[in-house]
Amino acid sequence: MSLNTRSLKTSMHSIKTVFPKGDLFYLAVLALFLGVLLPMTLDIFRLNMVGKYLTYAFVAVGLVLCWGYGGILSLGQGVFFGLGGYCMAMFLKLESSDPESTKIQSTPGIPDFMDWNQITELPWFWEPFYSLPFTIIAIIAVPTIFAYIIAVAMFKRRVGGVYFAIITQAIASILTILIIGQQGYTGGVNGITDLRTLLGWDIRTDSAKYVLYYVNFVCLMACLLIAQFVRKSKLGRLLVAMRGREDRVRFSGYDVSSFKIFVFCLGAAFSAIGGAMFTLQVGFMSPSFVGIVPSIEMVIFCAVGGRLSIFGAVYGALLVNWAKTTFSESFPELWLFAMGALFIGVVMAFPSGLAGIYKSHVEPFILRSWQKLKQAKPQPPEPPTSVPEKAPPPKTTPQNAAQPHPIVLTGSISPVGK
């Protein structure tokens, strides 16, 4: 009995640590917005596009952890997005090129682009992708292992900052050239197209698109929960500390590089899930989502949303992509100007992005009006510092409630080891 209450207490406590103050509220708002409001108001075509934008949100959330918290700017997230997407596409392609539907080819049963490139046998690395469980594991594992190799090689040798950025960019460039060059194995510049079914289930119908949107939504929420957990855990604080003064963390006895490696791999895994969901929803994968330009655009999604806010990153990805679609539909010439101005403007004027603007302008306003509302009501007055968006506070003992939940966003470290 006592054990039970204690474990309940600790779990309550850990929930409060992971979701302090308004975070649960913001998560709920985001979930309502993406899960209820958008599907109710948009037609399936637009919703599918939102789903496509949301796949970039995975990357942006990963970048918040890597870049915003860890200070590791990767300009090669497209690599992991692409690897995840290609793994998914390979499975779907194999399914859609069964001997029945490819019998006009000179070698039936292999993907059409291989046939066009005079390849008569399925390459060995395509073979395992007949299996869906393998594919799902590969979607996460391949990019993560790749990220691990890069990260170990770089961080163990204390390479960071701009060097890391340039090398990841070079890797993005290398992978793009490789994919385009090895047309017979990868589909070349067109990518892997004409994907139809997933285990016999047609992914191109409207109902399938709804289902995929929700699968995407659930995956994103799961990634957000993981990201929030990392952010609020000791690891998150260490990342912030490392971003501020790496040497001090190292001298305090922490193995700086392993934390960096972990967060980089986590970002890669998120990107890979995004890539796989992209392939499922859009129906193809091509090198144009892998290279330098898309990779750096993914960074701007994160920067616009706010590099320190995982929820902001989702809104940033939605907003920039929506703007991109709108602009390039109506003023294709202006889009690059707008995008360029966005890069410069965000960096110069709003380094903490939309989330920063919200924190500094919108939130105080809401707080003030909330206070007024409260004062108007004949209710027991609360201390003026309380935050109204707090989730209904769980019943806790005074000792538990008195425990502080510091949110450390700056470079300073509050006592980390308890």
């Binding site: 300009l75 340039i166 090398i167 070079a170 750096i296 920067a303 890069f343 410069i344 960096v347």
Partner: protein, 308 residues
């Protein structure tokens, strides 16, 4: 892959590909010199460097058209004037960019990377709106056409030799400027220890601006030289930017000698392999080798030892 050729043929192949590599090397050196100076001194990653180069190329294109229309008698020497104007134009734009936003971002090197990327997008669209999306080429004056036959199988194109000579001249000029002039002495002081340099009375902000302008100006000249060996499109700069960054990082930032050495290695490796493999595989192999070497030796080939 060598067995299909006789030894004499192989020699010619290596010579010709080596020469093609030297031309690539020249462009790399001109681009990377400017980038290395800027990166070495200010830690700024200028992603728009390729666009500064293309600015030089477009200026050269304009000047050559002007000469062809109004001063056909002087067409033979238009290139020298175009080069100077390219240098001035790119340098002026560089100074403007430094003044308008780069100087606010010196404390945040990763952010300069994003901001200059934004600048490069804007410049690309400007070029596209002004000059059109198609690639443009210049007409070379007669004395730059043709080639010198060295042996029966080896011929050296004159424009390539000219570009190489130009690169050599500029490299020497930069060397003199950096190591023999008073200004260069100040630059090196700032590179080694900015607070101390400021403390002894060097105006570091001014040095920064001039260095940035100089780096961009050299990129402009690179663009000018680029027109002689290829045609120019709005996005041509982006093709070279990653290679050039790798050249700079591989050579060891802030080391001009290292930059030249790594430009030589990378360009030669690439152009020699290009003959035997497909172009894309040659590039993949080259870049991959460089990345792997950088993982083993992150400070680059020639690292400057500085006490910070």
């Amino acid at each position: 892959m060598f067995s299909d050729y006789t030894s004499a043929e192989l020699l010619s192949i290596f010579a010709m590909q080596g020469f093609a590599g030297l031309i690539l090397f020249s462009v790399f050196v001109l681009m990377a010199l400017g980038l290395a100076i800027i990166f070495g001194q200010m830690g700024v990653i200028n992603m728009a460097h390729g666009e500064f180069m293309i600015l030089g190329a477009y200026v050269t294109y304009l000047i050559s058209n002007l000469f062809a229309t109004y001063l056909p008698s002087l067409f033979g020497i238009y290139f020298f004037i175009a080069m100077i104007i390219s240098f001035v134009a790119a340098g002026a734009l560089g100074a403007l960019v430094e003044w308008s936003f780069i100087r606010f971002l010196y404390q945040r090197p990763l952010d300069t990377l994003l901001a200059t990327w934004g600048l490069s997008l804007i410049l690309q669209q400007v070029y596209r709106s002004v000059f059109g999306a198609r690639e443009v080429g210049v007409t070379l004056p007669d004395w730059l056409m043709g080639s010198i036959p060295l042996t029966e199988t080896i011929e050296l194109p004159i424009n390539g030799m000219f570009v190489m000579g130009l690169t050599l001249t500029i490299a020497v000029a930069v060397y003199l400027l950096m190591y023999k002039s008073r200004w260069g002495c100040q630059v090196r002081a700032v590179v080694q220890n900015r607070p101390m340099a400021a403390a002894v009375g060097i105006n570091t902000a001014r040095i920064d601006r001039i260095t940035f302008a100089l780096g961009c100006g050299i990129a402009g000249v690179a663009g000018s030289a680029f027109t002689m060996i290829g045609s120019t499109g709005p996005t041509a700069g982006q093709l070279y930017i990653v290679d050039t960054f790798l050249v700079v990082v591989f050579g060891g930032a802030a080391s001009l000698l290292g930059t030249i050495a790594s430009a030589f290695t990378i360009s030669q490796a690439q152009s020699t392999m290009e003959f035997f493999l497909s172009g894309s595989m040659a590039k993949v192999l080259t870049l991959l080798t460089v990345v792997i070497i950088l993982m083993i030796r992150p400070q680059g080939l020639f690292a400057m030892k500085v006490r910070k």
